[in-house]
Structure formats: structure tokens, C-alpha cells
């Protein structure tokens, strides 16, 4: 995927979010630190252009909710910011890459500490498979079959697939 593909996928996902939710009433975008945050902002920008509504955007750091803390140090990258009350909201979690599903599991737990959304949906730019938990995205930029040991890198310029550097 190049930068153009990336923008087209964001545009499409924005449309799907608006369509799925019959508009943007109550929708809140929550980007996951760190890769999901710029995507959430880009989605919000697309939504503004499509529906002329400024959707609230938050960011969520799940480091304190991970279940693999004992296996590797995952330190908080940035402070979580939830701009609105989540009770009754339609939360769209936004992340760059969906892999094992453990980050999303942690994010769902974290969300519960901030409120009780009416519904939680998941938007990812790349679904690379290898799920370890029963988690399925609602909106996908691209399904990208990978080996476990490959690395997927989502940047402004597009999506790269590379070898893992140990």
C-alpha cells in the first residue's frame, strides 16, 4: 500500500463508519497509542468532510492493562485522553495493525474504566491475522496475510512488510 492507497482506505472506512451507525450521532473515535492515534485523527478529518460533523477524538494507552506485562516491559507511551463521557457513546477503537488481538483486549478493559459505551467497534488499517483471542474488526483497510515473524509498519507513506529485527 502506498500513501494514496492509505488515504483511499481511510476515506472508505470513514464512509463505512457513517453508514454502519446511520450518521455520526454519539460516535467517538479512540486511537490506540501510538500507531492508532494519527489514524483516528485522519478518520475524523474524513468524517468531517463527509458529514460536516466534528467527531470527538481520544487516545488510549493500554500499557497498564496488558496481560503480557510479565513477558516483556511495555511502558506507557503517552497519557490517555478521553475527551467526552463514554457512557452511552458509540466508541470506534482505531489501531494501525491488528495482530494477536491482545492489545484490543486490553483496550476493551481500559475503556470499561472510563465508562459504559453503548457499542464498541474496531477499525484497523491492516489485519495481518494470527489472532489469539476471539476478536474481529468491524472496519479493515487491508487484509494482509503475513508470517508470524514478519513486521508490519504503517507510516504516512504507506504500509511496509519486513523481516523482524531481533
Amino acid at each position: 500500500m502506498d500513501a494514496g492507497d492509505l488515504q483511499r482506505a481511510i476515506w472508505r472506512i470513514a464512509h463505512e463508519i457513517a453508514e454502519r451507525n446511520h450518521g455520526l450521532q454519539g460516535v467517538v473515535l479512540i486511537g490506540l497509542q501510538t500507531g492508532g492515534v494519527p489514524l483516528a485523527h485522519k478518520l475524523a478529518e474524513s468524517l468531517r468532510q463527509i458529514e460536516d460533523i466534528a467527531v470527538p477524538v481520544g487516545s488510549l494507552d493500554v500499557a497498564l492493562y496488558r496481560d503480557d506485562i510479565g513477558l516483556r516491559p511495555v511502558l506507557p507511551e503517552a497519557v490517555t485522553e478521553i475527551p467526552v463521557d463514554l457512557d452511552g457513546a458509540v466508541v470506534v477503537l482505531v489501531d494501525d495493525v491488528l495482530f494477536t488481538g491482545r492489545t484490543i483486549r486490553a483496550a476493551l478493559n481500559a475503556l470499561a474504566d472510563y465508562g459504559r459505551p453503548r457499542v464498541v467497534q474496531l477499525a484497523v488499517m491492516v489485519d495481518r491475522g494470527h489472532r489469539e483471542l476471539p476478536i474481529r474488526p468491524d472496519f479493515v483497510g487491508k487484509n494482509l496475510p503475513t508470517r508470524r515473524d514478519e513486521v508490519v509498519d504503517v507510516t504516512e507513506e504507506g504500509v511496509d512488510l519486513g523481516e523482524m529485527h531481533r
Partner: protein, 325 residues
């Protein structure tokens, strides 16, 4: 990072990382339900050979907010009174399965000794005149929160530096983070040698007061009089106390700090503690978040401690960079 024994073991990047993690912990602490599951299954025990309710409670609150289990050991209720050695005490506690010991002792160096005898993480919660690293972190965090950072800031540490673990830790942390520190005290209350201390020294508070971004007052203990270190508390206050008259000469943005507990009317006038620039209560509040950051930093990424947690750890799928699962 396995232990936190003193600021002297840290690099600037370690301090900055801990302060950054503290930001997240402050956010957690501000929630209606200030608790995250980060250290579920971990056990943190406070091992206080010297009483300090404030520090012990602060650490225990920090551990609880991270969902760690906490235990508490204090000399008043312990076998130390019956002559048990520190080493036996520590080994007994460790056998119960703990991941971190938060140690306070009246003698300098005991946390260092304990770190040699145990495989769990040791956090120094104050040892004699030596170090009190979490105090230095919470002080640094408080200054950073108000002034944006410590780089280029001028900080005066005033009073009994000689007998102060807080001063030793603060000097190292503040200077590591880019501040310039002036110690202000009569020579009797300064360490006998300042070789290797990146500080300036003044014996005249009035001469340096107006230039400071932070005035940090140390507790003046009454027993110093019996050691002929100062002629009287009255004279000490006259020369080195932050009176309301002196406070009026501070720069408008300058912070007034104190590690507590304060001797109002000695090192700090009661009215000064009420000034908007006095951030003493905030220091206490930040203490919990800083200790959360320290506990999380030391215990995240370690195997579960204790006898029951000896199960082999499965191979880790390291996921570097942007690619989190």
C-alpha cells in the same frame, strides 16, 4: 532496571522515562476509580525498619492503584525487636513470595545490602542520610509540572544538607535533569566534603534568594542544637528561614518546596506555606503517582515472583515498533 537504590544509579534518560510514566499514573490517579490491573498478581511488601507512616502509605497506595497485593512489615510488630537480623528478616519475607521490597532504614546503605541478599526488586524508601530516590522523583515531577522542565532552572536547597537524604537525592536528580543547584546553609550543616557534587554553595540566603526558580527548604531538626551545629533555632530562622519578608523577594514564578514534615516557624513561616507558589501539598500528591511509576517500571517485564510462580515462561513473540498485537 532491577532496583531503585539511589538516584546515583540513574541516567538522565531513566529519570525522564520515570517522569513520563508518572504522567500516565497521574491520569490514572485522577479517575473516579483510580485503579489499573497493571501489577495484578505481584506482591509488594513495605519493609520499614524505621517508622514513616507518610512514605509507607504513599507506597502502599501506589501499589494498590496498580492492583498489586501489598504486605507491610514494621519493626514495632516484628521479630527485629527480638534480635532478628535484617538479613534473616528479609530472607523470611522473601520466602513468602514477594516481587518488590520497599525498604526504609535509619542506617545508610541497608537497601544496598538487602539487594545483595534477595532476588526481588528493592526500592529505597529512605536510608539514613544517604538517599530517598522517590522523593527526588516526586520533587522533579512537581517542578517539571509547574516550570515545564528543569533545564537551566536555578534551585536553592536550603538548610541541613549534611543530614539529609532528600538533599543528596535531589541534588543528583535536579542536576541530572539540567538544573543548577545552590546549597544554602551554614558550613556546619553542609557535608564535610562536596567533592564531586555539581553544586554551588552559599552561606547567605538573602544573597541568592531573588535569582531562584525554586527554593527547597529542608527540615531543621531540633536535635541539631545539642550537637552545636547552630547556636539556636532562633538564629537559624533569622539567617536561613523562609520568612514572609524573604518570600516576598522571590521571583513571581518561583516555587517553594519542602519534603515534609514541616517545622512551621523554623525553616518556613506558617504564612509562606499558604502562598500560591508553595506546592508542598502537591509534592505529596505526586508522590503516589511517582511511586506507581517506579513500581511499574521495576516490575513490568519481570517474571512473577514468589514460590508459586515458578512456572516456565512461554516463548515471547516480541513485537517491536508499531506492530503491537
Amino acid at each position: 532496571m532491577k532496583h531503585l537504590l539511589g538516584v546515583e544509579d540513574l541516567e538522565r534518560s531513566d529519570l525522564e522515562e520515570l517522569l513520563r510514566i508518572t504522567d500516565s499514573m497521574v491520569e490514572v490517579s485522577q479517575r473516579a476509580m483510580p485503579r489499573v490491573p497493571a501489577l495484578r498478581g505481584r506482591t509488594v511488601v513495605s519493609v520499614f525498619f524505621e517508622d514513616s507512616t507518610r512514605t509507607r502509605l504513599s507506597f502502599e497506595a501506589a501499589a494498590k492503584r496498580l492492583s498489586a497485593d501489598t504486605m507491610s512489615f514494621s519493626v514495632g510488630t516484628s521479630s527485629v525487636k527480638k534480635g532478628e537480623s535484617v538479613r534473616d528478616t528479609v530472607e523470611t519475607i522473601e520466602a513468602m513470595g514477594v516481587d518488590a521490597m520497599v525498604v526504609r532504614h535509619r542506617s545508610a546503605g541497608v537497601p544496598d545490602q538487602i539487594a545483595r541478599w534477595t532476588s526481588c526488586s528493592v526500592i529505597n524508601a529512605g536510608d539514613g542520610w544517604h538517599q530517598h530516590p522517590t522523593q527526588a522523583l516526586l520533587d522533579s515531577y512537581t517542578i517539571r509540572a509547574h516550570l515545564g522542565g528543569l533545564d537551566g532552572r536555578r534551585i536553592a536547597i536550603v538548610g541541613d544538607v549534611k543530614h539529609s537524604r532528600v538533599a543528596r537525592s535531589d541534588v543528583q536528580a535536579f542536576t541530572l535533569l539540567g538544573a543548577s543547584v545552590t546549597l544554602v546553609a551554614p558550613p556546619t550543616l553542609l557535608p564535610p566534603s562536596l567533592e564531586g557534587w555539581p553544586v554551588e554553595v552559599s552561606h547567605d540566603l538573602d544573597a541568592v534568594l531573588a535569582d531562584q526558580d525554586v527554593v527547597y527548604l529542608l527540615r531543621m531538626q531540633r536535635e541539631r542544637m545539642t550537637e552545636a551545629l547552630v547556636p539556636s533555632l532562633r538564629e537559624y530562622t533569622a539567617c536561613f528561614g523562609l520568612t514572609i519578608q524573604r518570600a516576598a523577594r522571590l521571583a513571581p514564578h518561583a516555587l517553594v518546596m519542602h519534603p515534609g514534615p514541616m517545622n512551621r516557624g523554623v525553616e518556613i513561616a506558617a504564612e509562606v506555606t499558604d502562598l500560591p507558589n508553595a506546592v508542598i501539598a502537591e509534592q505529596v500528591r505526586n508522590g503516589v503517582a511517582v511511586r506507581m511509576a517506579v513500581l511499574f517500571r521495576l516490575l513490568a517485564g519481570t517474571e512473577l515472583g514468589g514460590a508459586g510462580a515458578a512456572a516456565p515462561v512461554p516463548e515471547v513473540n516480541a513485537e517491536p515498533g508499531e506492530d503491537h498485537g
